[in-house]
Amino acid sequence: MNLPARLRTAAARGHARVTASALGPWQSAVVRIGFSFTWLLFLVREWPHRRELYGPDGPWNWDMAARLIDGNRAFTALMWSDSVVWFEIVYTLAIVSSALLLLGWRTRTMSVLFMIGVLSLQNRSIFVGDGGDNLVHLMAMYLVLTRCGRVWSLDARRAAREAERERPPRETTGVVLWAVTGSALLWAQLFTDARLFLTADGPLPGLGWATVLWGLWIVQAGWWFVRRHAPGEPRAVLDALANVAHNGALLVIMAEVCLLYASAGWYKIQGSRWQDGTALYYPLHLDYFSPWPALADVLAGSGTLVMVLTYGTVVAQVAFPFTLLNRRVKNAMLVLLMLEHLGIAVLLGLPFFSLAAIAADAVFLPTNFLRWAGARLGRARDRVTARAVRLPGQRARESDAESPAGTLVRPRTLRE
């Protein structure tokens, strides 16, 4: 075959691949679970401080936020009203949507609410965030475009049950949820100062938040309609488009993780402290990042250890994108990076940053490992529920049938 013909075949094969299925179902699920868990844990931890951080009367008060947002045009539902009640509603909704996204209940709707929660709180007070918040911010937007609830979710369990029935279900819950979110959006559009425009002040140039949010809302309705009334070709087309969006977003997520490590590494190479092998010593002696001074002293006591870890960090970060070319090296590198983040979580007192970084790394975990871990967790859960419930025949079914790995809608299996 000559080159143009080969290219054409490759393009055709690629086209078929990205339209036929949502790739990386377990990887996208683990990213969904990782980020919703990180944000949920953060919101619960900050519950006592929520009004100081994001409330109308915090040191960064509502008026100051309004003045800043007048300039940068960031999205935050907290500016729709300055009442404390509204603030409490938004904070509570952020918690609830994180928990439901974690469980994969009405995943697509929850991913939109999750994004609204993340953007609303973070953009309200941008000066209390750090690198971890930034990562959650980005991923919350990308997750909206993915089909991240196809495995390890309540949605997947429901879909498996429905597949056994003949007629599609009535979807009362979905319709109610759709009506409620639509009414809320209509209220924001008509009765608040929300900057919901078609083309201005949106996430991307020329794309306003009204277009994004109403668009997603209309797509949900279209999806429901097609599923119920046009199961033939329209359904196949929508399915293909959803796969394309998912695969594109997943690619962007993976590329962003590479970019994160590459840029962090490349800038470090230029730093004199990373060159002389003492860089790690300094953060361990900053008062804002030393929750365990005695532990930090032990680590910082050895010049050789500090040097090895300093160089190791730079090598791992710079090399990471290239290790993806080899599965074994990639997996070894993932383990190293995750361990390093665990270390950062404890030593530098940055648990939420580290959790977010680990959740992002998880997009590269091998399918085999994820399925194995899912099956083990499922069996462990079944043992616990069987012990707790003690109703033989009702809950203690064959472990695999009820385990999360067994509840998938059987997307095309991807071999690692």
Binding site: A16, V18, T19, A20, G24, Q27, R45, E46, H49, E52, L53, P59, W60, N61, L68, N72, F75, F127, V128, D130, G131, L138, P203, L204, E233, A236, V237, A240, L241, V244, A245, G248, V252, E256, L259, L260, A264, Y267, K268, Q270, G271, W274, T278, Y282, P283, H285, L286, D287, Y288, P291, P293, A300, G303, V346, G349, P351, F364, L414, R415, E416
Partner: protein, 227 residues
């Protein structure tokens, strides 16, 4: 990237068992793929150029890249790079108070960052109020004021007010048994001493940046909405 390995074998066709799409349907899907490819390429190009050092392309298209990236796709990833912070920057404050007998007194300096540090010590889950609030507010202030403490633009005014409100939140209206009338803020910067195995010599003396006295207004008090 495990997910994009070309997949040999029969189950690669699992998705293709349904009936082939009609031409209009194929067109719709093809347009969808094209849009996704273009969007992902543009997005990643903007992402790359927003974190790269200034270069030929960012000089030519800087405004367009900023327009694309801000406000929602900003990336703050220069973690501890090019060099980690090598100094402890503490924000301290003192107050001029009106004593109950009608006189005026000045309190001693209170190290607000040391209080943050104490709250972080032995805390497995430090709060953003302890780790980020004052630390980043001070960065914000420094970034939007000149050496003569003159605010630069609207952000300068906001950052000054933000610092005052944080100080007043921690002081409260009363400090040392008197009503706070004015506050003064300073930063105390102490370089971290080089490691014991290093032969490097640096001066670890604390350097102060002392801000002028600020009169406390109603807007600086916790809970005050200025409307």
């Amino acid at each position: 990237m495990a997910e994009t390995d070309p997949e040999p074998g029969p189950d690669g066709d699992a998705g293709g068992t349904r009936a082939p799409l009609s031409v209009p349907a194929q067109l719709v899907v093809a347009v969808g793929v094209a849009v996704a490819v273009v969007a992902a390429t543009l997005h990643l190009a903007a992402a790359f150029l927003s974190v790269s050092p200034p270069n030929t392309l960012t000089k030519r298209h800087g405004a367009a890249i900023d327009d694309y990236v801000y406000p929602e796709f900003e990336r703050v990833w220069k973690l501890f790079a090019p060099n980690p912070l090598q100094q402890n920057i503490a924000v301290q404050a003192r107050a001029e108070i009106r004593t109950p007998d009608g006189g005026t007194a000045t309190t001693g300096w209170r190290d607000l960052s040391a209080q943050d540090g104490a709250a972080i010590r032995h805390n497995p889950l430090p709060s953003h109020t302890q780790q980020n609030e004052l630390r980043r507010a001070w960065e914000f202030y420094v970034g939007s004021h000149d050496a003569q403490e003159r605010p630069q633009g609207a952000r300068g005014d906001l950052s000054g007010q933000y610092i005052r409100r944080i100080v007043m939140l921690r002081f409260g209206r009363e400090e040392d048994g008197g009503t706070v009338r004015r506050v003064q803020v300073r930063s105390a910067t102490t370089p971290v001493a080089p490691p014991p195995w290093s032969d490097e010599k640096i001066d670890t003396k604390t350097v102060y940046r002392v801000l002028p006295w600020w009169t406390v207004t109603a807007e600086d008090l916790p809970g005050a909405m200025s409307r």
